[in-house]
């Protein structure tokens, strides 16, 4: 390990110890034991470099050398400040976090009697909520991954969502994360936990926007458990500053006959690393994973997925697409593991990129580890440009060349965005993408 990395580790450890002395009473809480365990795991781990296989294409040096301070000030935000991010009619429940801190005054949570829990996580950690402790840190492996270990050791806040069995929510639940660095660097640790019990249904929308410019590091972990016959959808839209660093772990465990859909749209960030792990842990479960990103300037977006087929008759379906311009870089690394007993597995993976400049670059790395014999598994990666024939066809119908390009690029994104069933959200994301395409592509 180099000196810089060990300095960084030391500073995290010192910070933890200082924190600990300030904790007083809450040192007795069970979360503290978890934190300490995570820290001791962190101590024996190393920060990745490009020599680390899983980080070959993503150089974290710019992140590691910055050693971001912890957020100390909480900016004053009124609801009129974040009004522009409102999508009318989208959600009945919205949890708002500013720089990782929960803002009750900006949030709206419906009172519910039938056992549904929608709450900031920190509150329940303090209350010792049973459901939280049953599931927290059971899926995202803090003993294997250094950023997850850090997130667990410094766990701040996030959303906790609990859907009791046979409960089907019609309206999505929204997590609105707003960054307001005002030019002051900081790091924050965000943690979500979504538990859907047997036969339940829920859609969660997590959005990340920014109010001011600046550099910061978001370390975020979301754990998801999908019960037997349950159906969970997670849609994320990320529009952080172009100087921000985003490291995310999303880890889902699927039980029998369950389904998990995930759709992630990344538009902002300087270095973005999304680690997505799915464990198909019950027979007949299925997962559909979609990702779309735009990378211009010097943006770097790395989608890293691991699908574990552990039981028979499970389906996984991955489609990741990106449009790159300038010196934008994209990485897709998708591992599909099929255990010996996971017969009748269907696994489909595809990564498609549109390169609009000579300097833009994409690395695509599929990895199949198959130990069962009755398996259908396909993967493919394509890198292309806009089809001139299609541009001419559109022009011949009266559409200007510039509009034709925009239309075709939006269409490329459309294949992902169309999977969003909620029309308000689909339109919103569509416009965000179109605006960016017109401005920078």
């Amino acid at each position: 390990m180099n000196a810089q990395d060990s300095n960084l580790k030391d500073s995290y450890i010192k910070l933890f110890n200082r924190h600990e002395t300030e904790l007083n009473g809450s040192r007795e809480k069970p979360v503290h034991a978890l934190r300490k365990d995570a820290l001791s795991n962190f101590k024996r781990m190393e920060f990745p470099s490009t020599r680390t296989e899983d980080w070959k294409y993503t150089d974290l040096t710019p992140v590691l050398k910055r050693n971001f301070p912890f957020q100390s000030k909480q900016p004053k935000i009124r609801s009129s400040d974040i009004y522009t991010y409102d999508i009318p009619g989208l959600a009945e429940n919205t949890l708002v976090f500013i720089n990782g801190i929960f803002y009750e005054s900006l949030s709206s949570i419906q009172k519910s009697s039938n056992g549904i829990i929608i709450s900031p996580l920190q509150l329940l950690l303090q209350n010792g909520n049973r459901f939280v402790y049953d599931h927290l840190a059971k899926y995202a492996e803090y003993h294997k991954e250094i950023f997850t270990a850090l997130n667990t050791a410094f766990i701040q806040d996030g959303a906790f969502i609990y859907i009791p069995s046979e409960t089907r929510l019609k309206k999505p639940i929204q997590i609105l994360n707003i960054s307001d660095p005002k030019g002051m660097p900081f790091q924050s640790f965000h943690r979500n936990l979504i538990v859907s019990e047997r036969g339940s249904q829920v859609t969660v929308i997590e959005r990340q926007h920014h109010l001011s410019q600046g550099e910061y590091l978001h370390n975020s972990v979301t754990e998801i458990v999908v019960g037997d016959e349950a159906h969970t959808t997670l849609i994320t839209l990320q529009e952080e500053t172009r100087d921000s660093f985003l490291i995310k772990r999303t880890q889902a465990k699927l039980n029998r006959n369950s389904r998990f859909n995930h759709l992630a749209v990344d538009l902002g960030g300087n270095i973005v690393r999304n680690n997505l792990g799915i464990s198909l842990n019950g027979e007949n479960s299925e997962t559909h994973l979609f990702g779309f990103y735009l990378a211009s300037g010097n943006q770097h977006v790395d989608n890293h997925t691991n699908i574990d087929h552990l039981q028979p008759h499970c389906d996984s379906n991955e489609l990741y697409k990106g449009i790159l311009n300038d010196r934008g870089r994209g990485v897709f690394s998708g591992t599909i593991y099929v255990a010996r007993d996971a017969q009748k597995t269907n696994a489909f993976q595809s990564n498609r990129s549109l390169l609009l400049s000579d300097e833009a670059e994409v690395d695509s790395k599929p990895q199949l580890k198959i130990f069962a014999d009755d398996v259908k598994c396909t993967h493919g990666a394509t890198i292309g440009q806009i089809d001139d024939e299609a541009v001419f066809y559109l022009q011949q119908r009266g559409i200007s060349k510039a509009d034709a390009f925009t239309l075709l690029r939006s269409a490329f994104a459309g294949e992902i965005i169309e999977n969003i069933e909620i029309s308000e959200l689909r339109e919103y994301i569509h416009l965000k993408i179109k605006d960016r395409l017109i401005e920078e592509f």
Partner: protein, 251 residues
Amino acid sequence: MIEIKNLKVSVEGNEILKGINLSVKAGEIHAIMGPNGSGKSTLANVLAGREDYDITEGSITFMGNDLIEMAPEDRAREGLFLAFQYPVEIPGVRMANFLKHAVNEVRKYHGQKTYDAREFLQKMREKLKLVEMDEKFLSRSVNDGFSGGEKKRNEIFQMAMLEPHLSILDETDSGLDIDALKIVANGVNKLRTKENAFIVVTHYQRLLNYIVPDVVHVLYQGKIVESGDKELAMHLEEHGYDWVKEESATV
């Protein structure tokens, strides 16, 4: 409507059109026939404004404008329509969306007010009937996964939506079964007025039984070597192109 004079066109240094003269007036239908590779599609594409061609000589006047100077989209907006020999598949762009965009662009160009969603849907339904296409096509991506025949009918549907002055149909009849052929021909006949004109590129006389041309031209090796009435098409159907080839060899 359109006046083509001594048009010479090359691709990568090879001359493909070697001095075309063609004049089409409002209300007329001209058929262009000719063996494979003779330059029919090249002519159609040059008129529509495709980039890959070098126009080395000649002039094209369309409705009083110098066509060569115009961008493809402006040609379309001025009322020139090309039904492609090979319609392009555009995944992710829905038919309805695409057409609304196209039609409204043309209307804006002419200073007309754009259609709202309801008016537009009504218009699309009306025109779909003309080519006997199902409404479900509107929510599909442009030509994406359409059968050969569906693609061709879709071209006529778009033509009906855009109401052009001059329509160039490049082998719209190829690959159509007899019923689809009648539908396409019927569509053209219904859209035909005294004010508009058609250039129909085809290999088969059978289309011309339904769309009766005023003039038939034979394009061979980049030149119009014969022009005549519809009897010429019958003659070609019977005798093939050998006599044309021989004649042009002796000239």
